[in-house]
């Protein structure tokens, strides 16, 4: 199952990407305009220093242009950019030496909190449930939250998430599953009235 982002079609991305590789400044600018805000939001979830995050993301794009000759032709542009931003911020946070082993996966924390779609909720019952669920989601370990964010908001595949978080496929899958399953367990025991699923389905 191929998942595209909600807002943009990836088919356009690969054309822009390959044009950028050929030195097309317009393609570069279009990709920049398309992803800059996404990346800012993602970057801000790791660091409270908004200006540094902006700087990092601009550096990521600058490198994209400077090293365009060696970009992989078939890259998923979004995954590539998200991952570059993540790595860059991780390294910036640890930088002191010229060289270091990337232990980025553990060095930065996904601090983002999900919010609630208030305007889509009409009845009080739903509002209560959603509020509870939102609270539990935001209490998840940061890596699980990040996995959820990348999977359901950025539409990355499990493989791409595994790559980004530097874990194997199974672990990435577990991150996602654990997030969903543990939460459901917790949720169910806390508020038995909200048991929505018969165990048979799982």
């Amino acid at each position: 199952m191929k998942i595209n982002s909600t807002y943009y079609r990836t088919t356009d991305d690969s054309t822009l990407w390959n044009n950028l590789k050929k030195g097309d400044e317009k393609a570069f600018s279009l990709l920049f305009e398309k992803y800059y805000e996404h990346l800012i939001r993602y970057g801000n979830s790791f660091s409270p220093h908004a200006e540094k995050v902006q700087d990092c993301i601009q550096d990521v794009f600058a490198d994209l242009w400077l090293y365009k000759n060696s970009l992989n032709e078939n890259a998923n542009v979004k995954a590539y950019l998200l991952s570059s931003v993540r790595n860059r911020i991780a390294r910036l946070q640890e930088r002191d030496h010229i060289f270091r082993n990337t232990t980025s996966t553990d060095s930065i924390q996904f601090l983002f909190d999900f919010s609630i779609e208030h305007q889509l909720i009409i009845d009080e019952n739903t509002a209560d449930k959603v509020q509870q669920l939102n609270k539990y989601i935001n209490l998840l370990p940061s890596r699980q939250k990040e996995a959820l964010y990348l999977r359901y908001h950025q539409g990355l595949s499990v493989e791409e998430i595994a790559d980004m978080l530097d874990v194997n496929y199974q672990s990435a899958n577990n991150l996602l599953h654990r997030a969903l399953l543990n939460l459901r367990k917790e949720w169910n025991t806390t508020i038995p009235l909200l048991v929505l699923l018969s165990p048979g389905i799982l």
């Binding site: 805000e37 600058a62 983002f112 739903t126 669920l133 929505l196």
Partner: protein, 365 residues
């Protein structure tokens, strides 16, 4: 839409774009509502998935388009800055050293003038042969179709183009470094202010202290071109050539010179981008930037491979997580490799055999 009939977990719904859009915008293009009501277990699953989406909101973007444009402009100027870093470094260098260097050069020129008056003019057009025969030198000819890398005893590197030859002493002795070129080559000269570096190419002599530049001086072509990438280069006619002029031309980065052999005139080209023949002749090495900020070392090796057309063999898995921030512009190839190896740690070294480079390493610090 048959695939949704196999959905058994919330996850399946959360990644379904059509489902998301139904929850978010109430846009039920695929009859989710009807499908949900077909089956009560399904309905529960759908309801839970819906709650998940409602509880996992990510705020909408609110960056203004002018802020976006400002960011884009800032990024382009970062790119430009990166491409021009080398120029800035040179400016600084000049500020500090220009005066003393100039004094030394004036002195040197006076001396060389006195010397040149003792020279007896010679009518040979095979200037290269004459120049080379005077001294016992190593001659390297590139008969292949690809550029060839030559490393000189002072650590300078020369990328010799096909159908070109370079003569140079095995070891530079004395207070000068002199090489002789016929054809085209890109030079990256290791800095040594005490021993200026001279390239003799047909009728002209190019003098540098430590820079990178390209010379194109084929015997069978009507003119000679010198194009400077970094540092400062001085060019004058070879005094041993009859009717040579006293003129001396100074070139700064991204300036070039065309010497018309027929009438021994110098044409300085200050905007190389407007000169088609120069633009077309630009090689890989002159286009690539060696300014690296947090770049995987494998990428750095790749850049070097492209620039010098060499093969680099390195332990990929051991260096997988190594990143480097450094500026290697203006450094000859051996120096580039040395800096990289040193930064990687004590157990890293390189070996160079022709165009084959082997890196041995236990990984980075």
């Amino acid at each position: 839409m048959q695939k949704r009939n196999n959905y058994t977990e919330i996850e399946d719904f959360l990644t379904d774009e059509s489902f998301q859009s139904w929850v978010h915008n109430n846009a039920d293009l695929e009859n989710w509502e009807e499908w949900t009501l077909e089956n009560s277990m399904r309905a529960k699953l759908v309801e839970e998935a819906r709650l998940w989406i409602l509880a996992m909101k990510v705020p909408e973007n609110n960056l203004s388009s002018s802020a976006l444009q400002t960011a884009l402009v800032a990024t382009w100027s970062k790119i430009e800055k990166n491409e021009n870093t080398q120029k800035k470094e040179i400016k600084l260098w000049n500020n500090n050293w220009l005066r003393s260097v100039a004094a030394v050069l004036v002195f040197g020129l006076l001396a060389s003038w006195t010397y040149s008056h003792l020279f007896i003019p010679n009518n040979s057009t095979e200037i290269y042969n004459k120049l080379v025969n005077d001294e016992g030198l190593v001659e390297q000819t590139n008969n292949s179709n690809n550029p060839q890398i030559i490393t000189l005893s002072d650590g300078s590197s020369v990328l010799l183009q096909p159908d070109s030859k370079l003569s140079y002493p095995k070891i530079f002795v004395g207070n000068e470094r002199k090489v002789y070129l016929s054809g085209e080559a890109f030079f990256e000269i290791s800095k040594n202010r005490k021993k200026p570096f001279f390239v003799f190419a047909n009728e002209i002599v190019t003098k540098v202290v430590g820079t990178s530049f390209r010379i194109r001086a084929y015997d069978n072509q009507p003119d000679i071109e010198v194009l400077v990438r970094t540092g400062k280069v001085k060019i004058q006619s070879n005094k041993s050539i009859p009717n040579s002029k006293k003129e001396e031309i100074v070139l700064l980065p991204n300036q070039a010179l065309r010497f018309v052999r027929k009438n021994s005139t110098f044409n300085k080209i200050t905007d190389i981008t407007k000169d088609e023949s120069l633009v077309n002749a630009t090689n890989n090495i002159e286009q690539l930037s060696f300014d690296f900020t947090d770049i995987p070392v494998s990428q750095i090796f790749k850049t070097i491979e492209q620039a010098y057309l060499v093969d680099i063999d390195f332990p990929e898995s051991k260096l997988k997580n190594c990143h480097l921030t450094t500026s290697l512009n203006d450094q000859p190839l051996p120096q580039k490799l040395k800096i990289i190896c040193k930064s990687l740690g004590n157990n890293t070294s390189y070996e160079m055999n022709g165009n084959q480079i082997i890196i041995t390493s236990d990984g980075c610090n």
